[in-house]
Symmetry: C2
Subunit: 446 residues, 2 copies
Amino acid sequence: MSTRSGDGAVGVGLIGFGTIGTGVARVLRQNRDVIAERLGFPLRLARIADLDTETDRGVDLDGIAFDADAQALIEDPEVEIVIELIGGYGAAKTFTLEAIQLGKSVVTANKALLAVHGKEIFEAAAKAGVDVAFEASVGGGIPVLRALREGLSANRILSVQGILNGTTNYVLTEMETTGEDFDVVLKRAQDLGYAEADPAFDVDGIDAAHKLSLLAAMAFGAEFDFEDIPTEGIRGLLPIDFELADELGYRIKMLGIAKDHNEGDEPRLEARVHPTMIPKQSLLASVDGSMNAVMIKGDAVGPTLYYGAGAGELPTASAVVSDLMELARELRRGASGRVPPLSYTRTAFKRKQLVPQCERRGRFYLRFSVPDEPGVLSILSSALGDKEIGIESVLQKGRGIATESVSVIVVTHPAPEGAVRDVLREIDAWPSVSAATHLIRIEEEE
Amino acid sequence: MSTRSGDGAVGVGLIGFGTIGTGVARVLRQNRDVIAERLGFPLRLARIADLDTETDRGVDLDGIAFDADAQALIEDPEVEIVIELIGGYGAAKTFTLEAIQLGKSVVTANKALLAVHGKEIFEAAAKAGVDVAFEASVGGGIPVLRALREGLSANRILSVQGILNGTTNYVLTEMETTGEDFDVVLKRAQDLGYAEADPAFDVDGIDAAHKLSLLAAMAFGAEFDFEDIPTEGIRGLLPIDFELADELGYRIKMLGIAKDHNEGDEPRLEARVHPTMIPKQSLLASVDGSMNAVMIKGDAVGPTLYYGAGAGELPTASAVVSDLMELARELRRGASGRVPPLSYTRTAFKRKQLVPQCERRGRFYLRFSVPDEPGVLSILSSALGDKEIGIESVLQKGRGIATESVSVIVVTHPAPEGAVRDVLREIDAWPSVSAATHLIRIEEEE
């Protein structure tokens, strides 16, 4: 290619010079030697574009063109691969598509963009014969997409489940350790910079759902609408839930879960995001603080797990620059498009319906807010029994949300979620019930 | 290529039709559809060679040529990629080199061959412009070499440590759970088929050292002699060690550990294999039974962990067939040799000295076999104190190996291993000491 510099370097352009972008520039500089020793040629950060050209990022920018003109960066012949790190759906999409149309491969960490507009972007890339790499978009620095796309490619994937959001895992770990309320812990997480000022994206599960939708598409070759993934956040959890989970032998983790359902005529897919009680001794239960982990089960390999930092400047930059190195190798070998971005070739994708939540069968932890009166337990039991929902254990501890009520906890035998929801709707309508019953799904080790 | 069949299939030849070979044939058949949907073309197992052509492996061999002639298989123009699964250093080496010389890429699970003759084989492959893939040789089905080679390629790797041998991990887990002696547990493992009739390769740490030497070479671009890795097996462990480890907050795991040492003038490398006490709450401590796990720390990504089945027919076949798919993609794209097999380009490899064990600084668990007499503790303490080895705690429990003696356990403060070894040599020479002192290294979470 005419744009190659004398040392055979591959020229790179970076759009978005925030936290992750700074990490990328830092890693490219501090590991310049090992990167070249692995590739056989260097990477050269030729150009950076960001609206903020004033703030000092503390990185040496010697020899790097830096201005606010992303358009010029994309068109610069010295830029052979574009890194998109501005986030969001607007300009990020425009720049990504423009780079692709100019025949340039793109590295991105933008899960939201790919979860919502992935189809359009991947089709454009296939048409242009370039790659879109996005390891950093799921699990931060953990090379989990690579495992799914290549390391386990011989397998029929059976399930994927993981702790996909570091902020929620940090909040849950703190609530469990300190016994404090959600609001208190969230406030502290915000003060420490672990949570955003508007935490909804994280604590309501949207970020985890974006990541799960990418994992599920890659695992099962499934096409479905991101919006259809049932998603439940962690705002409803109380300190008492952690206390009782511990007594029952569980820990509470926010999980994204996807399973393939091939029984019956039409292929279906289970995908859901919610707080989950999992056995204490499971590996996922040991993943604390802001760390992430993903368990992938294949028909040949069995269960495998991938663990590491799910966010942060340098861990995320690790994934971005490793992707960059893969795309640079492919560019130099003329092998762009070697592996389909979502693991399956485009024609192999199948539209799959999501299994409705009400069909899921499992055990449930139910926290009822009921009057502190004798007889309340037998009324609850018979209401559940009437719908053939078996009770495994009953616990009562501390006070509920309303001061005149108590929390009564029922752990059910395995039951269909639909039936459980029906009884809860009934019970929650009773005048004596002071707050909506809180339900937490229990997942056993498989 | 003239040998392509009409459907664009890549033709594969399998040498060695034992347990893993059978798994490979099974996975290629049962996952034929997903393999083709991911590659965009099918894989065709064209030919199998094994000296035993009689035993029924329970796999459909329809359309596959099967005889005892490995030589003919390698030369068969329908075989574009060769899978070597016969093990050992002899015929395996010959066939691998012959395939390479004929311009055919090779997939192998043979860690012993690569640990000892890797240099020669990789050089031949580079010269011939073909690939040698060996994911199955470390960690069974876990795609950990791929993580090291590509997923974390942006990082300067700081350390690699892992549970690399399923048999020893099974034995340790059983000893801990049942309180039984090593011999009893080993016998049961052999009866169940989890351990070989000659268990030395596993329980003496040789297999783990083979795997560690591949990991260390890939992690640090280091050249060194496999034989130099200090390797200690698990035969010396007693049930009391597990009991006391538990009291001290540790579990005992057989670890392979490698760290880069770049201080000073000459680059050095720490690599060692031995039973290790690690904190109970660490992720590696939760890896039980025959499962494997590897923790890799990079300067950008921080700690990451990879977990899964380290052996077995289908998990190992998962790695072999996933490698096969990568090589098939590269073959069709003319991109063989895209990634150097040991992660660094050949010219980047540096000869590194191994750090002698005596230089390692850490805490030690010392089990003394001493007479059950008052005053023995103060004599031990002053012997240790004379060499400036601080004592953190002392435990005495149960009886030692000789019936007239007891086990006294000392946990030291951090000290250089050389100094500790010096005192032990002295103490073990005392007439009253009934058996050599047993030393277990303690590794803290980093």
